[in-house]
């Protein structure tokens, strides 16, 4: 899922099989979220595993708030996770994530398509049939050509930049397509790998099997766009609506309001509930004020879903009535440190010494504690990705204490019995990462490892932390970072972090510079594996190989403590976003 906050993520850096950058993901593990939810009654964490206040009552106005504006309302340009989630209100795709809590939400189901695609025996041709009677908000029919045009827009990064850039890596196939704005074909539908034999059929031809292809089609950028209404870079100011709501007004930086799309037919849409009469989004710059409104009940939900601020967090955690309407789902992010090949961390034993010396609890507390920070991380695969195993704890971190004897032992084996000096790099615009670096620095000191903290410009992350050359030049041994997948598959999550072929000069995320042919081969095996269970087994092996190499120090499996207004109905956490499913929400009092 797209990046969750303002982090950047260098879109467009992708390589080979299209995995760009960063960011988030979703999901929750089925564990200690404070009791089992039953009967849809609200209690702490209930929305993670079940639907809270299930209802089909229509009407009322949903009052959403946000402490930051969307990056863009253009479906091809938005990359924030909450924007992808809000896109479900007005953008339909061929396929979309199912509307269900828990693991069921990770399934991709037909949306505009009337059924699952027909996939040829060689797994290269995907044929979709559109449902009949689909209409845009202006009454025009939604055709397969609109879908193809929408897909083509992803290529046009010169006009509409900012969104994920996965599709061209799969579908360009050497055509070097420039996007519809520079298309020489009269109908502007010159992309060869996608064909539309009639208005209700669309065929995608792949060059080689790619088991994650449907995840790419579920991104908002793969949704249809009517060519007549496309205004290029200005499209985000008034996007067309294929979903149940259409834009009534957009005041950048202030507010957005949606009203019902009269041409949306509920019978044609198996996913969306469309309960409220209208939906308003108010954008504020004062996050504390937003929290106060939430707790007072004058705002329904913070769409950022990145967790309340410290003041509200304390109120939530200490007041059981408030806590019953809060959830702390996993966001799909893992917070961790990469250990780079800068000496002496090019030695595996020195890396192990760092992992053993790090105090899991003080780092967890510095990040906000078990609810707002997350569970202590043990490996690089977060729980929403198939193949992860929450019991896998190779460095015995879950017990929560640093293991100084093991750290000393590793230091001796590394040939640095008295410790060494290391530089920790942290993004200066991420207070939590700086706090993490400080906590790490303090715990390394106990093992004799002297760390200094270098706070670099977070806005330049892809050119500093993401540049192996700069990392070497500045001598960064440890880089604090975070990562979430844009779609929930092991390759989508881990390949940019651990495949040696993904090491780039700029925007690199394999910051440990893991160069292990065995790991690379396993990724290739997984890409050709169409059985999800077998693929999961491969991802499990990759995870273990990365941890065996001690390349990465996992801190926490990120969680966000969010509050929802008790009047919200159908509230549940959607695992693919790590936040409530906005399209399902209704209000119980009809206001």
């Amino acid at each position: 899922m797209a990046r969750k906050t303002r982090v950047l993520a260098a879109s467009g850096v992708a390589l080979a099989l299209g995995l760009t950058t960063a960011a988030c993901g979703g999901g929750s593990d089925d564990d200690d979220n404070g009791g089992t939810a039953s009967n849809g009654k609200s209690e702490f964490g209930a929305a993670i595993t079940s639907v809270v206040n299930p209802s089909t009552t229509k009407g009322g106005t949903l009052n959403l708030w946000s402490s930051q504006d969307a990056d863009s309302w253009d479906p091809a340009r938005g990359y924030y996770a909450f924007v992808w989630n809000l896109n479900r209100l007005y953008t339909r795709k061929l396929v979309d994530y199912a509307a269900a809590p828990g693991k069921d939400g990770l399934k991709v189901v037909p949306d505009l398509a009337e059924a699952e695609p027909t996939i040829s025996a060689d797994k290269l041709t995907y044929t979709f049939k559109l449902r009949s009677g689909l209409k845009w908000d202006d009454g025009a029919p939604i055709t397969s050509k609109d879908v193809k045009y929408g897909v083509e827009r992803v290529w046009a990064t010169d006009v509409i930049s900012g969104g994920p850039y996965y599709l061209p890596n799969v579908l360009d196939q050497g055509q070097n397509y420039k996007g519809p704005y520079k298309d020489t074909a009269p109908d502007k539908l010159g992309l060869k790998s996608v064909t539309t034999p009639d208005d209700s059929t669309i065929i995608f031809k792949l060059a080689k099997p790619y088991s994650d292809f449907l995840y790419l089609l579920a991104m908002p950028g793969s949704g249809p766009v009517p060519q007549k209404r496309d205004t290029g870079a200005q499209y985000g100011q008034k996007p067309a609506a294929s979903g149940p709501y259409m834009f009534k007004s957009i005041a950048p930086g202030k507010s957005v309001s949606w009203v019902r799309n009269p041409n949306w037919d509920p019978a044609s849409d198996p996913i969306r509930k469309a309960l409220p009469e209208a939906i308003n989004l108010t954008i504020t710059t004062n996050a504390d004020d937003l929290d106060n409104r939430l707790l007072a009940g004058t705002a329904d939900l913070d769409v950022g879903q990145t967790g309340v601020q410290a003041a509200a967090r304390t109120k939530l955690l200490t007041d059981n009535n408030l806590k019953a309407n809060a959830d702390a789902p996993n966001t799909g992010f893992l917070r961790f440190a990469d250990m780079t090949p800068v000496a002496p961390l090019n030695n595996i034993e020195c890396r192990k010494a760092v992992i053993y010396a790090a105090d899991p609890t003080s780092i967890q507390t510095a990040r906000g504690g078990p609810y707002a920070g997350g569970d202590i991380g043990t490996s690089i695969l977060p729980p929403n990705i198939a193949g992860s195993d929450t019991n896998y704890d190779p460095y015995n971190r879950k017990q929560g204490k640093p293991q100084l004897d093991k750290a000393k032992e590793a230091l001796t084996k590394c040939g640095q019995p008295n410790g060494f000096n290391v530089k920790i790099a942290a993004r200066n615009n991420r207070a939590a990462e700086v706090k993490t670096a400080e906590a790490l620095q303090a715990s390394l000191k106990a093992a004799g490892i002297t760390a200094s903290i270098d706070q670099y410009d977070g806005a330049q992350d892809s050119a500093i932390g993401g540049s192996p050359e700069i990392v070497k030049q500045r001598g960064y041994g440890i880089i604090i970072t975070g990562w979430g997948a844009d779609y929930p598959s092991g390759a989508g999550y881990m390949q940019p972090l651990a495949d040696s072929r993904f090491i780039t000069k700029n925007g690199n995320f394999n910051r440990s510079e893991i160069k292990d042919p065995a790991i690379d081969k396993l990724f290739d095996d997984a890409a050709g594996e169409t059985d999800p269970a077998k693929a999961a087994e491969i991802y499990k092996q990759i995870n273990q190989k990365v941890m065996d190499g001690a390349y990465v120090l996992p801190f926490v499996v990120d969680k966000a403590l969010n509050y929802r207004n008790p009047r919200l109905t159908n509230a549940y956490v959607h695992e693919s976003f790590g936040m409530l499913d906005f399209q399902a929400l209704g209000v119980s009092d009809g206001k």
Binding site: S362, G369, A439
Partner: protein
């Protein structure tokens, strides 16, 4: 009382000097130096003395910081999870008033459990070093350039005065932020803490000198036309002698006063820069940095903000009171 030259500026009735006291029965008519007079006046100004005591106390604390921490605190970068609430997961200090106890005299920081007492007194080291040395730097530059401008006049005066005008009109805080964020974290092998202290001293000192420079220039302009300078010059004294033997001693009072008054300003500037995130790098504490960390906790753990806030307040107040007292003592006409 005599009607000697000092009579206009003193009204003590007691025996003023040791000399006089040796000769009982004689009226105390003794010449007293300007220093002695000022010192007597200062001694009588209880508020100024109280300010001075606080200042001296702070300096002693800063010097003895490592010892005090050994006796009463904990290392500044030691995390204490046991002092924090982990049950509810709020990460706030256990106990009232931000976790104040005999173990942690001023409580602990939320989310880290670091000892606030230790961090405050280590912060005093940083703050006072920056404040004093940058004030010294300002004074040095201000005196040299002010004297040169006032004494030489002409184009030298024009150039220096325009530079001072330029610096006074310069948005120094913004410049300092921009400069501090591009400078390397370490140089001359000083380590990150003292390197940054050095940079802060340089920046704050550099932007502070025009304040003193203007005052020195103005005083010099009026002094250089006075008779004693004329006399000295007619006796064949060279410029150097006039500057350093005739003018400078007469400028000592205003320079001293403005130096003491520029120190609290420097403390506030350092706190502001640390607050804005370009101060001393972590984990080294500074008062402004602590205040900045405390902002997000001010409603749930107010002590965390109150402590560095009041320390800054008390320190600045003490310096200001002392500086005012010193001015009154040295320059009664300004009263």
């Amino acid at each position: 009382m005599s009607l000697g030259p000092e009579a206009s500026v003193t009204d003590e009735k007691t025996a003023p000097t040791a000399d006089a006291a040796d000769r009982p029965g004689e009226q105390a008519i003794a010449g007293r130096s300007l220093k002695q007079i000022a010192w007597r006046r200062l001694k009588k100004d209880k508020v100024a003395i109280a300010g001075a005591c606080v200042v001296i106390f702070l300096i002693v604390v800063a010097i003895l910081a490592p010892l005090l921490i050994k006796l009463l605190g904990h290392p500044i970068d030691e995390y204490h999870n046991d002092a924090l609430d982990t049950e509810l997961g709020t990460g706030l200090p256990k106990g009232a008033l931000g976790g104040m106890s005999w173990e942690y005299l001023l409580g602990v920081e939320p989310q880290t459990g670091r000892d606030i007492f230790s961090r405050i007194i280590y912060g005093a080291q940083t703050t006072l070093t920056v404040a004093f040395l940058s004030a010294f730097l300002s004074t040095l530059f201000g005196t040299i350039f002010g004297l040169a401008a006032g004494f030489l006049g002409g184009w030298v005066d024009s150039v220096i005065s325009r530079i001072m005008d330029f610096l006074l009109a310069f948005p120094q805080l913004l410049f300092a932020i921009a400069l501090l964020s591009v400078l390397p974290d370490e140089f001359f092998g000083l380590g990150p803490r003292w390197s940054r202290v050095g940079v802060l001293i340089g920046v704050i000192g550099f932007f502070g000198w025009p304040y003193i420079g203007r005052i020195v220039r103005g005083q010099t302009l009026s002094l250089r036309e006075r008779e004693f300078v004329e006399a000295s010059r007619s006796l064949g004294a060279r410029s150097g002698r006039i500057l350093f033997r005739e003018l400078l001693p007469n400028l000592a009072a205003p320079i001293l006063v403005y130096t003491t008054l520029i120190i609290p300003t420097n403390i506030l500037t350092e706190a502001a820069l640390s607050f804005l995130g370009v101060g001393i790098p972590p984990p080294n504490p500074s008062w402004g940095g602590m205040l900045s960390d405390a902002v997000q906790f001010y409603r749930i753990d107010p002590m965390y903000m109150i402590i560095p806030g009041s320390v800054i307040f008390i320190t600045v107040l003490a310096f200001n009171l002392f500086g005012d007292g010193l001015r009154d003592a040295l320059d009664p006409k300004a009263r």
